[in-house]
Each structure stands twice: as C-alpha cells, then as structure tokens.
Amino acid sequence: MLHAWVARCVRLSIPLGIAALASGIQISAASADDVIKIGAPLPITGPLAPEAIKQQQGYNLWAEQANKAGGISVGGKKYKVEIVYTDYQSNTPRAVQATEQLITQNNVNFVFSPFGSGAAKAASTVSEKHKVPTLAATASSSQVYDQGYKYLFGTFTPNDTLTTPLTEMIKAKVPEVKKVAILARNDLFPLAIAQEMEKSAKANGLEVVYFEKYAIGTLDHSATLSSIKAQSPQWIFVTGYTNDLLLVRKQMIDQQMKAPVVSMIAGPAYQEFIDALGKGAENVSSAAWWHPAARYDGKDIFGSTANFVKLFKDKYNAEPDYAHASAALCGALFQIAIEKAGSIDRDKVRDELAKMDVVTFFGPVKFGANGQINSLDPPVFQIQGGKPVVLFPQAIKQGDLKIGLE
C-alpha cells in the first residue's frame, strides 16, 4: 500500500518537476532579458586590493545611478544593469581565466578590464577572441592598445601626457633644476611612466643623474635614498603605488633629504597619501588623468563634474580620485554607446564606442584608432595646504607651483 502510494507520488512528481523547471527557465530567461550584465574581473584580494576597491566603487556608483533612472534605454525598453565581479587575487594569469569565465559561463554582455596595464593587456586577448566590447578604466601604457585589437577601449591617455606637461612646467618655473633622479617600481605601469619621464627630461635638456628600479614589495629604501642623496639632484621623481610612495617619502624625511622639486606618480592624488604623510605630503607634485577640480558639463548620466563629486561624496563620504572617476566613466560610456546603438548587439555597441565623441564629467571623450582616449589634457597638480591644487591645464588651474619641501 505504502509502496504504491510512494510510486504514485514519484510518477506524478516527474511531469510536475519538468513543468516547474521549464517555467523556472522561462522566468529566469525573461528576467535575464531585462538585464545588461557587465563582467568586472578585479584584484579584490591581494596586494592590489586597495586599487580594486576604488574601481568597484566607481562601477557601483554608475550602476546605482543607471538603475535609479530606470535602467539603460534600448529601443524604448529599459534594461537594468548588473555588474558581475570576480576576484583574480592580484594574479594576472587568473585575471585572464576570470575574464574567460565571465564571458563563457556568466554570459556577460560586456566587460570592464582588470586593474592596470599589465592585466588589462593580458585579458584583452580573451575579450577580443570572443568579440566582447571592453573598457579599460586603469590602463595607460600604449603597449596595451598597440595590439591592433578592435574591441578594446581605454579612458587613460598615454603615459607621456602626464610626464611631458610636468617637465615643461618645472623647466619653465624652476630654472635651477638641472639634475633629475628617477626611481621606479619594477612593474609595467610605474616603469613605463619612469621611462617616459627620462625621455621628457632629456628632451628638455635636463640631466638624468640616477635611474634605478626597486623590486615589488621593497620595504626599506634607505640605501637607495643615500645613493640618490649623493648625486644631489634638484628634482627627485618616484613612481610606484601608494604604499611604495608613502614609504619612500617617509624615509626621505627620515634621511633629511631635500630637493627643490619632488614628484611622485601615482599616489598624491589619493586622499590616503595626504592623510598618511601630513606635512610630508606638502609641495609634492604629481599628475593624474582626472581631478575633482575639473569643471565639465557632460552629456553622460552624471552630468557635471560637480554632480559626480557630490554623488560620490554622498555615497562613500570621501573625495573621489581619478581611479574612481575613470571606472564610473567606463560605465557611463557603455550606457551612451548602448543607448545610441539602440541595441545590446556587441558589434553595434563596439561601433558606437569607436566613433564616440562626447563631453562627459571626466572631460571630452574620443578614442584614437587604437582604442586609447586621445581627447584629454591630464591635470598637473601639487599638494598645497593638505589639498591637491591643480596647476595645469589653464582652464582648471587653481594655483601656482611652490618650490621646496616642508
């Protein structure tokens, strides 16, 4: 009796189960239709975690704004935005795997590149293979874009756009600068910036008396700084990530090193650099791809630079820097391209990105033939009174270069 009852239940459950499963697929397929998924492989853990968090905050702010406005409008229909994150643990080979997984298993429509030039270049091979439009928020080295790829676009101008205006300004305003010492983290982006710096210094008639690399993870720079001090350069230029630069600057203070000009890329734009160094950050000059002092009236979802800064401050209770802004811009650019294409077809969106010519909160955006942005004048700035003060370009200038260190 009991057996017969169980058998009946099982028999009944099979068609019911199939029906439930089918309706489930129907439901999920219907909901998936209304969502645009963008894959974002990020180094959420590991040494690059602080940088990943910045990118994530930028993407999330954009997604929140886009969804608050009802979603992205595609041919009269609104699509919600969903960002699918994967953690590649600051390990570039894993960034490539993560990108492949996002495209083939998570079925994302579009991709945000992983952090930095090295990982963006590695992962771009995958998105190019699958013909997925990809926006890189934090890749500036021209080697990333010189691969002849059609689906990769980036919002950072080439590295020399940071070093050339800085060198020209220092040469014009501080004529006593004759000798430059360059110290670079042995990593794709910092080293590329240092090499550009060496080129622009030589092009401007300055003598490069010291050019050395330090290993990733170096904690003690005292011996290196002693060697630099012995050369008595008037300009000390250091590249690396925030932690490296904090360490070098602190150890410079410890060794009582003074020079008329000290420049560091890319740390001084971040508030934590200023907070951690206090007076030690004063008069350190730098350059970045964007600054909250910029004043643009954009056609993107954020509108003006001031509105972007306000929205960011409201959400995160902190001042945005170029990494946050560039990530948010990438989202906004996908939105513009999709809405213009009137479709989520990858090729149509790719074509809209290629012919993009729009003013945004970040500045004018136009991509060169290689996919890298070529329409921006990155600001040169200096920490003055605990704040980054823009010195160049003229349109957003806030102050004049100060010489010497605190």
């Binding site: 590991g46 602080p50 330090y214 002693s226 932690n243 060794q255 009582q256």
Partner: protein, 288 residues
C-alpha cells in the same frame, strides 16, 4: 661619507632583521618546525601597536609590554592545542599545517583590517639625528636598541633560567631530557610561545618604521627564513649575524648594483651558503 651612511643603515636594518628572525629561529631550532605563521604574527603585533596607539595613545614601547605576554599565551595555546598533535610527524606535515594556519590567520586579518596600508604616525614625530652628514632616524635607533635588548634578553633566558636550560636540553637530546624529568610538550609550548612573543614584539617595532598590512607578512617571513639560513640555526648570535649579513648585502648591493638587484643578491647569497656552508655562519647543535 656615503659609505658610512650605508654602513649605519645596514647595522640598523640588520638588528631589525635579527629581531624578525630570532623567534623563527628559536622555533625551528628547538621544535624542528618551520613556522610559516611567523610573518602573520609579526603583522598582528604591528596591528596591536597601531590599535593601542590609536585608541589609548599608548606608545609602541609600552605596547611591547602588552604584546609580549599576549603573544606568548597565544603561541602557547596554538602549540598545545594544534601543533603538539603533529610535532613528531615529518617536517612536511608541520610545514603544511603552519601554512594552513597562516592562510587562515592572514585571510582573517585581510577580512578584519582590509588590505589597506596603515601607518603608525607618532605625534610629535621623533625626527632624525645627524652627525657630519650621516643621518639616522630616531625611530630606527629606538627600534634597533629594543631589538638588541630583546635579543640579549632571550640569550640570558636560555642561559640562566631553568626553563631556558630545559629548552636547550630538549633541543640537544629530547629523550635524555625526558629522563631528566623535563615535560617535553610543555617545553615545546613555551618555546613556541616565546617565538610568538618575539614575533609580536618585532611587529610592534616594525609598526614604528614600516606601513602595516596583512600583505607584508610574506616579506617578513622571507627575511626571517634567509636570516636563519645565513646565520645558522641554534644560536641567538646566529640570528644576529645572519641579520647583519643580509642587511649589509642588501644595502651595499643596492648602492652598487641598484635596488632592483638587492633581493636577487640576498637570495644568491642564500644559495651559496646552502651549498658551501649549510650550517650558516655560527650554526650550532644546541640553541643557546
């Protein structure tokens, strides 16, 4: 004058390296355990110093007094509850176990403190002392003096105290020590506790000088490992000699060949020592 500056930098750095390595060397020498949690203990000590300074404005030299007993108890418990179960197993087993424990501790630190770098900035700053163009930061001088004092204390403890002699006895001949009435599991736990306490104290000193992040633990562990091989296991002076040698190679190598090659040079030296003098500079059988 640059040469004097480099030499002084090396001496200061060497004593810090010795301080990082001495607890590691003690555990390796006595328990025959390559303790991969050591780097995370150091970072945890740095967080303790940072937390005490931020919340209670307690200076790092007072934080050491807190760190030493806290870490001793922590290490003692880890040894008694976990490591003692596999202490007689082959070295690969203890290596794997401490590797696993380190993964847990390190990821827990990333979860709790995040991967962001923090700095313990003393207010007012301690500044630097300079003589004839040679400059030494005061915080490094204090850290050096404290590191040397800790090293001296360990030396005295091992030579003069009853428990110290028991540690040396267990290291020299475990079975004979048992026959003499030494309770080996307790001695192992005390040695591991001492190693943890020294790591915690080293972390407090590191917080004075370097930024704090869970991600730096592997750098400290790497230094400890190299120092132990260079100096040789089994003696306090070995850790000191190894630390000094490593710092000297790094500082001089960095000045001559550029900072990018400092790490390569130190590992090259490590390989040379492993081939030509595997017992290290002053390696001995017993730990004293």
């Amino acid at each position: 004058m640059q040469a004097v500056q480099i030499l002084i930098n090396a001496l200061v750095l060497g004593s810090l390296y010795a301080c990082i390595a001495i607890g590691f060397s003690l555990v390796w020498g006595v328990l025959n355990v390559i303790n991969l949690i050591h780097g995370s203990f150091i970072v945890l000590g740095a967080y303790l110093a940072f937390g005490l300074y931020q919340s209670l404005h307690l200076s790092p030299w007072y934080a050491i007094v807190v760190a030493a007993p806290v870490f001793f108890v922590f290490g003692y418990i880890v040894q008694r509850l976990i490591l003692n179960r596999v202490i007689t197993a082959p070295v690969l087993v203890t290596l794997t176990l401490t590797f696993g424990l380190d993964l847990i501790l390190n990821n827990a630190m990333i979860y709790v403190f995040t991967a962001d770098y923090r700095r313990l900035t003393l207010i007012p700053p301690l500044g630097s002392v300079s003589f004839e163009g040679v400059v030494v930061p005061v915080d490094r001088l204090i850290a050096t003096a404290t590191a040397l004092a800790l090293t001296g204390l360990l030396y005295l403890l091992l030579r003069r105290s009853r428990v110290g002699r028991a540690i040396v006895a267990v290291r020299l001949d475990r079975d004979a020590a048992v026959l003499m009435g030494v309770h080996v599991p307790s001695i192992y736990a005390v040695a591991f506790g001492l190693g943890a306490a020294l790591a915690g104290c080293a972390g407090v000193l590191m917080a004075l000088i370097f930024p704090i992040s869970p991600l730096t633990s592997s750098a400290y562990l790497g230094k400890a490992f190299v120092v132990c091989v260079l100096g040789g296991l089994g003696s306090v002076s070995g850790a000191l000699a190894g630390g000094m040698l490593l710092a000297l190679v790094e500082s001089v190598g960095s000045a001559f060949f550029g900072p990018a090659h400092a790490t390569t040079l130190s590992f090259l030296l490590l390989i040379i020592f492993l081939i030509l003098r595997p017992q290290g500079l002053v390696g001995r059988k017993g730990f004293e």
